[in-house]
């Protein structure tokens, strides 16, 4: 491969897009003096003695890449201690958008990315991108398909080991790079991890440089996917959560081995699914026998929709001036597909011999976001509960026990 194939051209730098430094590439927006077209030139600091045959093969692969979903490298040239990669300028916006993406949008992005990667991974020679992050993924309006996902900035040296002290550009990659890549052995599954991290950042609205803060405390490469996704308001199916969990498995062996396998699995699952909730009973009647009695009842909650996780909250509908604080739930928040809630009613705050009708509302992420349960409480009287005494037995006991001292006195005589 001739790394100097573009050295005879002249580029006029218009702007610095990425500052680089500390061994990181510097990116320029340039104008070719020969064709007057806008081009991106990436300056990679690279000592000559490190230009191994493997890197040269990778550079040659960049030039041979042909897919609608990537921006091809037009050429490379070497100047001094640096290698320059020249690619087309893309007038598109990247995925670095300060908003939370809808799961369906995320699914479409995931499918598009995996399709591009599948094509790249199945060509000969195969290549690992090694630098997938929102900054390197672009949307381009496409008249026929709406918009197209385009992947840029393949890592020149994805297999290089990371230094112990991370600099600022590396910090933006932290969270997108799996352990095996940090250790210097990237595989196609490493790109799956990066895609998983991108999707998680889009679903949670987390910026790239902060993504690593979502990892668990025990393992810096492990994301508590379910916990993160359940914080969002979208009804994401547990199938999709499991799929994303597999994409982001810290251990390479637990991940999808390549993009095609991940894509095949994603095509078969539903991203959005709403729980179907059933409350038993649908109405509660409680009767107190005396003033101040504490009444209790159980409400069973069940979710019948597979692949969903029910999340909800109980509240009492306010009625006139009554906030309903005499009605309590042992736990007002519900998380899970089966739960039993203990309802307590304090009749000490109510008038005697009256009937109270109130509405309990279960607000959840189910198909019916609000389900109401009617509560009727009949309060007791002021008289203490008259419990029958076994008068006959107690009288008998009084009489019989009265004879005991007499019998004893006869013995003692």
């Amino acid at each position: 491969m001739d790394v100097n194939s573009f050295s005879n051209q002249h580029y006029k730098a218009q702007a610095i897009l990425k500052k680089g430094g500390n061994g990181q590439p510097k990116t320029f927006l340039t104008i070719s003096e020969t064709s007057e077209s806008k081009l991106i030139v990436k300056q990679v600091p690279f000592p000559l003695f490190e230009l191994s045959p493997e890197i040269q093969r990778r550079l040659a692969t960049f030039l041979s890449l042909e897919d609608a979903g990537i921006i091809p490298v037009l050429g490379t040239y070497k100047q001094g201690q640096e290698i320059y990669l020249v690619r087309e300028y893309l007038d598109a916006r990247s995925l670095v958008v300060n908003r939370i993406f809808h799961p369906e949008e995320v699914r479409n992005i995931a499918m598009a990315l995996l399709e591009v990667l599948s094509a790249i991974q199945y060509q000969v020679p195969s290549i690992v991108h090694g630098n997938i992050k929102p900054e390197n993924i672009f949307f381009q309006p496409n008249s026929s398909q709406g918009s197209q996902i385009i992947l840029t900035d393949f890592a020149l040296t994805p297999a290089s080991k990371w230094s112990s002290s991370l600099n600022s550009p590396e910090l933006t990659r932290l969270g997108f790079v799996p352990l095996e890549q940090v250790a210097g052995s990237p595989t196609p599954a490493s790109d799956n991890y990066a895609i998983g991290a991108v999707l998680l950042s889009l679903l949670s609205g987390t910026a790239s440089h902060q993504l690593y803060t979502l990892t668990s405390e025990e393992n810096a490469y492990q994301y508590p996917v379910q916990e993160i996704l359940l914080r969002q308001n979208f009804p994401i199916s547990s199938y999709f959560m499991d799929w994303l969990g597999t994409m982001l498995a810290p251990d390479e062996d637990d991940r999808f081995p390549d993009a095609r396998t991940a894509l095949y699995a994603l095509q078969r699952i539903q991203v959005i699914a709403r729980p179907r909730v059933q409350l038993t009973p649908s109405g509660i009647y409680l009767q107190a026998e005396q003033f101040g009695e504490q009444l209790q009842a159980c409400i069973e909650i069940r979710n019948f929709m597979l692949g969903t996780v029910l999340q909800g909250q109980w509240r009492v509908t306010p009625y006139l001036n009554d906030s309903g604080n005499w009605i309590r739930f042992d736990t007002d928040r519900v998380f899970g597909n089966e739960a039993t809630i203990l309802l307590s009613v304090d009749t000490e705050q109510l008038l005697v011999d009256k009937q109270y009708v109130r509405e309990l509302v279960f607000q959840s992420n189910s198909e019916r976001p609000i389900v109401a349960v009617s509560l009727v409480v009949k309060t007791g009287s002021l008289k203490l509960l008259a419990r029958p005494l076994p008068v006959l037995h107690l009288t008998g006991l009084l009489v019989v026990s009265g004879f005991l001292p007499i019998a004893l006195s006869i013995i003692l005589w």
Binding site: D322, L385, V400, S401, I410
Partner: protein
């Protein structure tokens, strides 16, 4: 031979009668004690079924027994045991009445703040 048997049976009957004649107060005492314990148990069980607490179910029959003992001893001219059982029993009756009045007073005092239907 027949006469001997009859004589032996008569002697046996006489002996048993003599024993019963001398031990009847002890047998009577045992019978009363068994009856007392049985009635205590039955009364406690019935109270428990009515919804009284275990403490009340045990205490009330015991106090009634104590009152019975007190009445018995009072009949024999020793009234010292009578207050031991009757005072706690009276206290329990009075306490329930006090509790009732306190409940009513509490309700009347807070009636304005109570939730309306």
């Amino acid at each position: 031979m027949r006469e001997m048997k009859l004589a032996f049976a008569a002697i046996l009957l006489l002996s048993i009668s003599t024993i019963i004649f001398h031990l009847w107060p002890i047998l009577l005492c045992a019978l009363i004690l068994i009856g007392t314990l049985y009635l205590c148990f039955v009364a406690a069980s019935k109270m428990k079924q009515s919804g009284y607490s275990l403490m009340i179910c045990v205490t009330v029959p015991l106090l009634v027994t104590l009152v019975g003992f007190g009445v018995g001893f009072a009949y024999l001219g020793e009234p010292f045991l009578l207050p031991i059982g009757s005072i706690p029993l009276m206290s329990m009756v009075i306490y329930s009445q006090v509790q009732q009045r306190r409940l009513v007073a509490h309700y009347q005092r807070n009636i304005a703040q109570l939730v309306k239907p």
